[in-house]
């Protein structure tokens, strides 16, 4: 459902050139949860924005359900749902108004939108505060509104950018349950996170990003066999050690 081929993005910062993503290639199929992992600044979010067609790649391409992001961004966006840790809510709108507004943005017919809002609200437990202004909601309730917003147009592909950032244990559990729910629905999911331990519990396959380049890719078993390390964290640290010149690592 998602194909990324040689995806590259350069940014100009004054006279300097910053390589944010460097020749990235991977594939995610239906019912698969793919973990795009790496430290802050590895290029995870930039990759997601290029897949969505919001950012034009410098070279390479991404395809979603057969649509190329750079040439058919609206078709790609219609098929995607985005959950981001930094996403907020409209304080003066109610969750119902917010969900219906986004359903309209995603071209969902009004009748279907109403049914979809009811269904998602039941699934994610929004019914108790569906007509309350978002400004009055708790952090957890706002988080659930955002999860519902990403699903209101019933996308087949979900992109989750650092979904557990800033959340406590209970908040993170809601996310884990949400991802399992998506997987059970047969959706293709990409989860971007720097929390490698969490990713290990959630994802089927992994791509380890470092400075914009994919350094390892495969299932947990494949990666364990290839690297000889037990956990994703160990694999990543070992890779950093081998890449860094002597003297740069250590204490």
């Amino acid at each position: 459902m998602i194909s990324v081929v040689g995806l590259t993005k350069h940014f100009a910062a004054g006279t300097r050139k910053i390589v944010a993503v460097d020749g990235l290639s991977f594939h995610v199929g239906a019912g698969e949860v793919y973990g795009l992992l790496g430290p802050n600044g590895a290029g995870k979010t930039t990759t997601l924005w290029m897949i969505m067609g919001v950012l034009p790649p410098t070279s390479g391409y991404a395809e979603v359900d057969g649509y190329r992001s750079s040439s058919a961004p609206d078709a790609v966006k219609e098929r995607l749902g985005l959950v981001s840790a930094s996403a907020g809510v409209y304080p003066w709108l109610t969750p119902r108004e917010t969900l219906l507004f986004f359903a309209d943005l995603y071209n969902v017919p009004p009748r279907e939108a109403l049914a979809s809002v009811e269904g998602i609200s039941r699934t994610l437990g929004l019914t108790g505060f569906l007509d309350q202004r978002c400004a009055t909601l708790s952090t957890g309730q706002k988080q659930r509104v955002n999860l519902a917003r990403a699903l209101v147009h019933n996308p087949q592909i979900m992109l989750l950018d650092e979904p557990t950032r800033g959340l406590d244990v209970l908040g993170s559990k809601v996310i884990f349950d949400y991802v399992r729910h998506l997987r059970d629905l047969g959706k293709a999911v990409i989860v971007c996170t720097h929390r490698l331990d969490e990713a290990q519990r959630l994802c089927n396959r992994f791509g380890l990003l470092h400075r914009g380049r994919l350094v390892h890719e495969g299932t947990l078993a494949e990666l364990q066999q290839r690297t000889g390390c037990e956990t994703l964290t160990d694999m990543f640290l070992e890779f950093i050690d081998t890449q860094s010149p002597a003297g740069e690592t250590g204490s």
Binding site: R68, S84, F102
Partner: protein, 738 residues
Amino acid sequence: MTSESKASPSRLRLGRILRLTRKELRETLRDRRTVITLVLMPLLVYPLLSISFNKSLLLTAQQEQTTAFTIGVESESERVLLDELLVHGSQILAAHRAEAASRPESEGEVGEGEADGVEADGVEAEDDAAKLGVYPALELENQVASLELQLAVRISTRDPDPAGPRRFTPVQCELIYRENSTSSEQALRFVQDRLQAVNIASLRTRLARMGVPAGLPAEMTFKPVSVGRATPFSLATLVPLVLILMTITGAVYPAIDLTAGERERGTLETLIAAPISRMALLIAKYAAVLVVAILTALVNLLAMTVTLVTSRIGSQLFPDGLSPILMAQILGLMILFAAFFSAIVLALTSFARSFKEAQAYLIPVMLLAISPGLLSLMPGLELTLPLAVAPLVNIVLLSRDILEGNVVASTAVLAIASTAAYAIAAVGIASKIFGNDALLYASRGSWSELFQRPSAPTSAPAPAATVACLATLFPCYYVLANLAQSPGRELSNRLMINALVTVAVFGVWPVLFATAQRVRLRTGFRLEPAPWGSFLGAVLLGVSLWPFAHELFLLGRFAGLVGSDRQQFVAAEELLKELQGLPTRVLLYYLAFIPAVMEEFFFRGYLFQGLRQQISGPKIVLVTALLFGGFHILSPSTLTPERFLPSTFLGLVLGWVCYRCGSVIPGMLLHASHNGLLLLMVQKRDYLKAHGWNIEENAHLPILWLVTAASVTAIALLIVFWATRPGYDKKGGVYLGL
């Protein structure tokens, strides 16, 4: 399956935009802060303003009653004569008043004096209310026109007719006054009443002596002569300004909330991720801001009308009344202005990443918006063609003209059309900025870079530092140049101080910014070598551009770009005389070389290089030329808009030369040659005139001169072009070691 052909259709549909607008409005109008600005502010502001207006009107009336008149005459003998006549006239009037007061009141009975027209016509000023002074004969009209004198009296005596029966000297008084000026008209009545009283008393005495019954016309005649209508400061001008400022406040908060607020809340990225065009999002936001701004205008207009009517201040400000048609016209202008300002505000706030940043952008704009608004309150300011295209000023002046019933159709149409065009352009810019990739993901271009010292030397100033330097440089120059003005000093000292100010502002100030930012001076100020040919071209341009600058100066004046008043003109003439007595080398050093080098150092050096990271070469040439032209409008303690066109033109040529050469040095030579030649022409004016080279400030140049200048300019441009063609040998360039 690669489906490039399956791209979704355009999402710019009216129904969807209306739904988006409804959501934006719902969000905005539910916010209490919007409602406070929309409703509570007008309810508070207008009653407070009406109290201030009332106080102001009362004070003005009191001042008008107690102000002494200054009356000018041509000679000391005339001053003595007029003084005697006025004192005598006052005594006659006082005697009549006393007589009238002692007479028993009798309804319908007309006093003798009143029947003769001797009684003062409502002017109850004190006898010492008139101060007489002697002024040069040619200046009298100008002094009255500028209201430095309330009245001028020109007295001429006629020889008595020897054949006639009378043997007294007839006197004719020309009373020069300014129409519509309260003080001038009061002074006129003051003098007329007293002269009339003297006339009638004198006539009566003479007729009595001759045994002739009274009734013959007076021999002493006086004729009021108007020197034009005064346009006194009208409080009514404040009304559109207040309405416009209130409309601005209405648009500001929703604009910030719907753009920078989206980003700060984290809702912008979910919007951008949706399959809808940014233009559709922006149009919906614009419509929402516009609706709130129009609502604000409407509420303000309503509150203002109610206040004016109920406080009776309306009848004082608008003697002809506030008709519904008048209010509808004003509302129409407010809507147009709301459309313009909403777009401007939206474009600016689209740049911002947070509420705080948006406020930082908007506060200077608000202050800038107030300045032209206040400028429009200046008495005598007409809605001329250039002002009709000046944002904000045009709407304020047009509203004033509507309120006063003095609308000129052509300028009104131009003001409306230009405001509409600005609004469309601003929406276009906003749509490009809103949701911009750089704003979404990168931190480059942030104001924070102003305070960050780079770890390594850089070749160009950061854009934020460039803008900050520019923004602080103009007020610094204005303040320092004004401080340096001291008429008592010798000219050479004044020139030296001015040169020091120029060096400090255009040299030291940007160097401080560059040093703080670790910018290499050679690259950061474009002090690069340039090919030999470019220097030759620069000198030729320096000596051939002045005729075009002169013609543009005249064109600007023709279009109404005139700022100099008579006093400034006289001061300039005096300065020119002083310059003629100055040694040529001093003149060229202080007024040609230093300003040329320093201005190029900043405008085509630091500013040009700083903007290079943000905009392309031709646009930089245009922007720096406009700023250069704008800077030349600023003169200490005055504005000289007539210099805008020639300076901008020179800036365009200098920018192009700098762009072609990659160096600021040929431009310095061009600029210095241009300045130097003009100064020499001023200094040697009499010599040139004696040899048939008469260059009048207000006259077009002979066509032959223009053709010759155009030929030399074309050759010079070709030389620069050829010398800087791609692949030219930079090693052969000359580096002046600056």
